[in-house]
Symmetry: D2
Subunit: 337 residues, 4 copies
Amino acid sequence: MDHVTFVPTVDQLNYTFGGAEPVLRIKPGTVLTLWTEDAYGGRITSRDDKASVALDTEDLNPQTGPFWIEGAEPGDTLAVHLVDLTPARSWGASTLIPFFGGLTSVPASPTLQEPLPERTYIYEYDRAADTVGFSAQGSNFELSLPANPMLGTVGVAPARREVRSSLVPDAFGGNMDTPEMRIGATCYLRVNVEGALFSLGDGHYRQGEGESCGTAVEGAMHVTAIVDLIKGGGPEWPRLESDTHLMCIGSGRPLEEAWRASQVEMIGWLGDLYGLDRLDAYQLLTQISQVPIANVVDTNYSAVTKIDKQLLPPSPAYGGIHAELRSAAKSLGTISY
Amino acid sequence: MDHVTFVPTVDQLNYTFGGAEPVLRIKPGTVLTLWTEDAYGGRITSRDDKASVALDTEDLNPQTGPFWIEGAEPGDTLAVHLVDLTPARSWGASTLIPFFGGLTSVPASPTLQEPLPERTYIYEYDRAADTVGFSAQGSNFELSLPANPMLGTVGVAPARREVRSSLVPDAFGGNMDTPEMRIGATCYLRVNVEGALFSLGDGHYRQGEGESCGTAVEGAMHVTAIVDLIKGGGPEWPRLESDTHLMCIGSGRPLEEAWRASQVEMIGWLGDLYGLDRLDAYQLLTQISQVPIANVVDTNYSAVTKIDKQLLPPSPAYGGIHAELRSAAKSLGTISY
Amino acid sequence: MDHVTFVPTVDQLNYTFGGAEPVLRIKPGTVLTLWTEDAYGGRITSRDDKASVALDTEDLNPQTGPFWIEGAEPGDTLAVHLVDLTPARSWGASTLIPFFGGLTSVPASPTLQEPLPERTYIYEYDRAADTVGFSAQGSNFELSLPANPMLGTVGVAPARREVRSSLVPDAFGGNMDTPEMRIGATCYLRVNVEGALFSLGDGHYRQGEGESCGTAVEGAMHVTAIVDLIKGGGPEWPRLESDTHLMCIGSGRPLEEAWRASQVEMIGWLGDLYGLDRLDAYQLLTQISQVPIANVVDTNYSAVTKIDKQLLPPSPAYGGIHAELRSAAKSLGTISY
Amino acid sequence: MDHVTFVPTVDQLNYTFGGAEPVLRIKPGTVLTLWTEDAYGGRITSRDDKASVALDTEDLNPQTGPFWIEGAEPGDTLAVHLVDLTPARSWGASTLIPFFGGLTSVPASPTLQEPLPERTYIYEYDRAADTVGFSAQGSNFELSLPANPMLGTVGVAPARREVRSSLVPDAFGGNMDTPEMRIGATCYLRVNVEGALFSLGDGHYRQGEGESCGTAVEGAMHVTAIVDLIKGGGPEWPRLESDTHLMCIGSGRPLEEAWRASQVEMIGWLGDLYGLDRLDAYQLLTQISQVPIANVVDTNYSAVTKIDKQLLPPSPAYGGIHAELRSAAKSLGTISY
């Protein structure tokens, strides 16, 4: 396996899926060790940094990449296995941003109400305890929460010649903001353009399902991933596989449309794995589906349909590539940055 | 504690929340042992019973109740603790019903497409193994799934003089169809009319999150519940408490509105329990919220906001009534029907 | 034709569709001369009456009725022809109500933002000029607008034993809030219960499409209507006919579902009138449909699909009953109250 | 005034807003005489051309442009005045496309139902009578409808470095599909990138509001437009002005969000023109707004908020540029192609 390390300079960061020149060309099977800047572009460093001032820019949610995957052609399946995610700073930040988030009006659906007050929360990351610390601002309440590093954004260049902001989740992946995108997961994405043009970023030291206020515990991240390619078989919507679960991620508006997309995608997957016709797969899904919402705050909302593998007979997806990648990941030993 | 057993005759079943005469008057703290008919009114008994023929009726989703709770007044909080749910038949049934469910057009949002084909699935309930059996109809696939008995429908009479079909979930509870409504859960509902007029029904031997096709493994159920009353404090939206989690259930359309309702309800609850102001509670929720969807198939969709109690310092809700009810439930010993 | 006059006392007003005893029994073909209170129950009489104080009640949007129509059975079609609408007061009122309206968050879709400031606007009705007067409160701007009297609410008892608040629009009609419900229109409603239990109210001296802030120029109204009955043929959704247009009104959430309901209803109607199959009617509708939104503020939103009769060959709906009712209306001469 | 004629070759057509090299650079105030291909790229020419075969391509909805407007900078306002739209063929075509349109499930919100049958309708354009002819396929019904030429798509390059398919309507304009985009209208668009990169296309010989099935009477069009530039003042959402109306067009999902965007945009415009504060403008809009839906079929839905100028005192928008452009248009005399 090739093992490539890439730490972007500020100028090398990109803010779109599609439309950017590749930073590197890699072979399928390459191990990538990367560094990702936080979604604020590093502009929020203390409780006094208010989003409306610090983030007055179009340069939000910087991505590391894109990487050109040799041999990737439209219709193929890119498999991205997350080997390791390690917080790269000793703190993360979450902000209440005016007219952004799930419990405020937003420009896409405006009201005449005033914005919520701004607040910036700094979460100290305790590496030893592997926790992040919440401090209330209206009272003395403090709380340590287990860290749970994940990536908000993983994606490829979109179809139909489009270039989308890295704030957008859609069929090409992007800013899906699901806590399921964590160590040990393999993400399957349809390749839409030659070379796939894969990027990732938006590290979260921890996030709840829904990302209610619009920003998780955002932080720079060390990322190690193996990027592999399966010829053909590109899914309609992003899929995830962990040791324990199969998952499909739909994105759209309203939220039920994201859910429908993720459900129909899973029905297709169950059909492929178990020879079920669509009605039988629909029926079975009804009784075994889990639906942890990903985000209800981005330009599209994202919903995850999730199935516990233990409920089903073994049937390795994509020829068992997830197990192979897990095992390759283990062979890397401890990753240090 | 009073312990009352009530098994309704067919004529005593009710199909609405509000608008029906109470079947019994009970004191707060009463243990109720009940029987609930399945959502089909018992009209589906074999694979050959097609919904479009068998269910051509307004008598769907029969409820056991309503019960008049003595002393319950508008603004109070009804606490319903589910002591036991035991399948009352040796099989449950799930049906693909024309123009009903999450992955078909529906009368409220019609298209010009033909309906999906009908299918009825009978799930044998293996009491010893505590499983239900799925048999595909388009292939030979068979699967045993763990039973996970729950109630689709728990509610009280609505506000504003309304009478709602038992197919509807809303602020009064009703047909929320969340798998979280299981043994050991305490459901808190705002009382809207004198006596509360509480009913329950719609037993499911198992259901996935979302209830994709619109019908779970529907089955008659033996139910034991303790019904208690807290003066005042009625929540805006139904709340649930288990030994491990706090939950709020919002219902509405589109799905993000159900989500918002459940989130704001939880922000209020966190504020009450921990003295957090609304912005701090919003921030904290962002990092700890779980969002298992309840249903995306009923007249309103339902979303659950769920918090793991272990993440938070102990702070008993409603004066610790859940623990008391748990303990009272244990004192009842094994329930037999 | 029987001609019945009914002016309700305050105690005779009703606040629901379904669930109320009929105030009168009338024969099909009866002319009704009625008086309707405004949606505030007459509690807003000056700019100083703020909604949050004056409307702290469940008694909103009072209806005149219900009327029992002799011979009306489930599945029949009620035809309500609006002969005359005359403002019954010399002023109407519109209010900005906290957390109500189209450009604020609402309890069904809450945010954490503060409510908009309250304002009450009194519009003087100039009977001679037939105008209502708008006066800005933040500046000196004043404007006379043509009066355009209409009824926000026309409906019958719902199906499935339900009782709905008079704030709700749905398949039974109710609070549709479309300016199309004006003098000269005939409204066709499906009868759901014996006697139909028809009511109306919520007079508006003028309203824009959408009813943006949630309240039109609300005012007490003198109403003269002819109520007729067609056996069978009850439409799925309310229909309207004027001398110039055919219209169908769908209600639901999100707004596209209301639109879909109104479109499919019109496709059915075109099919009946012109022998078009559903695909041809869909195609034709695509090129001739008008879609004036009714309201985006009520518990359900309402959309109107509207077709200019001039574009189509003559084909009298319901045996030409609209023309007959128009002609009967003219035979009544000038209505005085 | 410069007067430039541009008829694109097939290779010069573009399929995105943003991301394409300008075909021409023009000065503000230039008269453009253009030709636009139909949305099918000319691939549908008879009833036997089925969309699923003929349109199996990413090259849909070709645009004429983009044009680089000299001096246009981000934040400026582009004013596009439609002088003339003349059908360039003797027929237009509308198609029922599988899984596309308002009354079928679509990939963004999939169901498990079969697609609707395909049909292609050819509408003969009678230039003398200025009508298009509809012929039913399931019966003998035929109908002549007045032609009403319009452009489905008018837009500029998007903000945030995005490139969007020409199938998309959004804040940059694009595929809004409103019949209001007709001769005599001036469209105001915010400039997002240097040069604005303005394109147009998607001629419709006639369309109803909503574009129910997803395709209007699509046809190649001769277009004459004057393109002017106002420094600064770029609106959040596209605005339209005709001799009789002011209009704002919002796009998004669900449909109520498109409506909200258009309403808040109009409130801002009313505020600018009449010195109304936001609450007064909200109130006034409530009583005078018209809301003709544009489309409920594209990747975003579009809604128009429309105000009759006659209801308001004269107050020329943008310094009276619409009247100037109307008058410049008249000075061009009859346009021949």
